[in-house]
Amino acid sequence: MKRFIALLGLILFFSSSLAQGTLVLARAADTTGLDPHTQTAFASFRLLELIYEPLVTLDGDLNIVPALAESWSFNDDSTVLTMNLRQGVTFHDGSPFTSADVKASFERILNEETGAASRANFTSIESIDTPDDYTAVFNLNTPDVPLLAAMASVGAAIVSDEFIAGGEDFAAKAIGTGPFILDQWTPEEVTTLRANTDWWGEGPYVDGIEMRVIPDETSIVAALRAGQIDFALLNDPIAATLLIGDSSVQLNQVPALAYHVLQLNASREPMDKLEVRQAISCAIDRQEVLDTASLGYGEVTGPLTIPAFKVPNDELFCYSKDVDKAKELLAQAGYADGLSLKAIVASAEPPTALSEAQSIQAQLAEVGIDLEIESLELSVYIDRWLAADFDTAVALNGGRPDPYTMYVRYFTKDGNLLKVSNYVDDTLDSLMAEGRAESDPAQRLEIFTQFQKHLTEMSPWVWLYHDFEYTAQQPYVSGFVPNPTDSLYSLSQVKLEGKE
């Protein structure tokens, strides 16, 4: 009995209850900066999309839905985009939101001195007219249907024109129109947000959000189980899926847009030979990579992970493992005796990368390809990736809601990252151009189906699988809608009813 009391005392000593009304959220990676236009890290988006808002946003099924724009329309040849803006919206400092802010924001993105990486998505914008306070007209230099989807990102958030004109430091101050107002950001520790009671939408229903950094995902899972946090973002499928079957915690999962891929560098021997690339594609059982690296939680995928544009896997080149065909292709290319390659892998980004590499390594060995794994610290990896200093690279590349924006950087003749993908041909380039100008959904599907079939057959990369975006929450948290882009925007709808 004494021992029991001592134990109870110990438990009481080390437990504590949560503040009411505030959503306590934990994640492993922190925001890297507050300027929405220059940030590219997903971890930064997760904070900034609560503070800043773009003109349009994506719902849980990736439909483009209104945010600061209530409605929009393209002209017939998709060269003029007219946005009707929401009225009565104010920034967190009380100033009203008008078309002048839209114009100033996009001009800021387009200004090279800003250093906005997302600028590349908006170079079709020739000028912006503001006929009245609540109408913004984008004049484009070329038909650009995907522009709308590119705008549905906090990278295209609307900031205050007075701020831009006043030379305010966006890295230090975050004044947006979003559902939450930034109180304080202590990097690598905690970010506190309070509800924006003047927000134009319904909600938020919590007093605020306390966003904590717990760098170790196993510790995040532990904190959820101990009831110390309400909500968590999880990256590592191995840690996240521990919560499947845990009755006290609810795991949310939604198929991710991001895809796991083995990039082959077609500018290097022997990957400059089509047969070698195809052999690698045929030698890999994608399901086996998924089963070992992500414990099977995911789905084998072609180049496009957007549900509306998926092509059945059996229509894609060599999506079932064929060792004989792989060997035959290698022999045709003059590598009957096998060959040696290296793969660069970031040691923990994604957490499954090293496992994927080891599965691929074992499978390629079956056809006589000796793959040496080089695991690198993340920034070293990115440095070499950007310089295309690799034979092959295991990567998790972010997806976009539109096929054109997703691959324009890699597989068009003037793609910004063509120096990384190192592969383009006329078919790909013209299909992309058609897809950009086409506004009929059925036609676009046809174009991008062809695009995917051709791309997998040319095998510049070997697309493997996509997994899930995981979030986890206590059972009393309601109203959150998981989003394939991992967006936390719907936290504005979250309620904490029955939280003790």
């Binding site: 995902e217 196993t218 590592d236 191995i238 840690a239 521990l242 086996e288 089963d291 070992t292 690296a293 414990l295 040691s347 923990a348 957490p351 090293l354 496992s355 590499a357 080891q358 599965s359 390594q361 074992a362 040496e372 794994i373 080089e374 695991s375 690198l376 610290e377 070293v380």
Partner: protein, 287 residues
């Protein structure tokens, strides 16, 4: 003093080490690991350590897989043997590097004195003033991860300790008559150091070496935690242990066995160090 003890025909140091309980247990543990590592080096293990049996992945210990399998269905026992080989390789080579480099620097500094002493020991101070993990991290991030770079990183981290251990006694020994006499007779300084000074400082150095071996196992594990260990599919105990952190709840054997291997290895080197101290330290004799 050396001659005096030899006259009494005491049992040789290694015999005394075997009679010392700590030393004996330590030696046995290390010997077992060395044998396992050698077997692995000659390719003798239940399965090839990198062979994947995907259908049998994450199965617990059984008759076909003695210690169970990992994510890829690789046999854990075979991987542990391979791990023994790589972990011992890292430990032995890094400590060899640190001790040879450190002792040479310490001897030279102590023997030459003056500005050479000053310069060398100041440089050692710089390395001493570095947290070990940060230093190793910087070395590996610059050079890239890999078995030999791990050796180099850990070797550099432990060099100053050996320099200090070697230097102190040299300062004392070099004032002793026989060394002074040799010096005045014009004997080659290098020979003097090797022949007279080194044997006299061997005892503390051996103890230090066996302790450093145990730290080296732990440092390697720490580097693996940071993702800077040996490259797959090769494995070390540290890599296996740190990889097991996420999966251990589903497959506890993946954490238990590598953890036990590291713990036993560290224990073994420590016990050996204790034994050596008891046997070699003149003050401790007769206890």
């Amino acid at each position: 003093m050396t001659t005096a003890t030899n006259v009494r025909k005491k049992p040789a140091a290694w015999q005394r080490l075997l009679r010392n309980p700590s030393g004996f247990i330590g030696l046995i543990i290390i010997a077992v690991f060395v044998v396992v590592a050698l077997l692995a080096a000659f390719g003798i293990s239940p399965y090839p350590p990198a062979e994947q049996h995907v259908r049998d992945r994450l199965t617990g210990p059984s008759s076909s897989y003695l210690l169970g399998t990992d994510l890829f269905g690789r046999d854990l026992a075979s991987r542990l043997m391979e791990g023994a080989r790589n972990s011992l390789y890292v430990a032995l080579l890094s400590v060899l590097l640190a001790s040879v480099l450190g002792i040479s620097l310490g001897l030279v500094a102590g023997y030459l004195g003056h500005w050479a002493d000053n310069l060398i020991m100041r440089i050692m101070d710089v390395f001493f003033a570095f947290p070990a993990l940060l230093l190793a991290l910087l070395v590996i991030t610059v050079l890239g991860a890999g078995l030999n770079n791990t050796v180099l990183a850990i070797g550099i981290v432990y060099t100053p300790i050996f320099a200090r251990v070697a230097r102190g006694p040299v300062l004392a020994v070099k004032e002793m008559e026989f060394v002074q006499a040799g010096r005045s007779l014009g004997a080659n300084p290098l020979r003097l150091i090797l022949k007279h000074i080194l044997p006299n400082i061997l005892a503390p150095l051996l103890v230090q070496i066996s302790l450093a071996l145990s730290w080296s196992l732990l440092t390697e594990a720490g580097l693996s935690f940071l993702g800077l260990g040996v490259q797959p599919p090769a494995a070390s105990w540290g890599v296996m242990l740190s990889e097991s952190r996420g999966i251990a709840e589903r497959a506890p054997w993946l954490m238990f066995f590598p953890g036990a291997a590291i713990a036993l290895g560290v224990l073994g080197f420590n016990l050996l160090g204790d034994g050596l101290r008891d046997v070699l330290d003149p003050k401790a004799r007769g206890r």
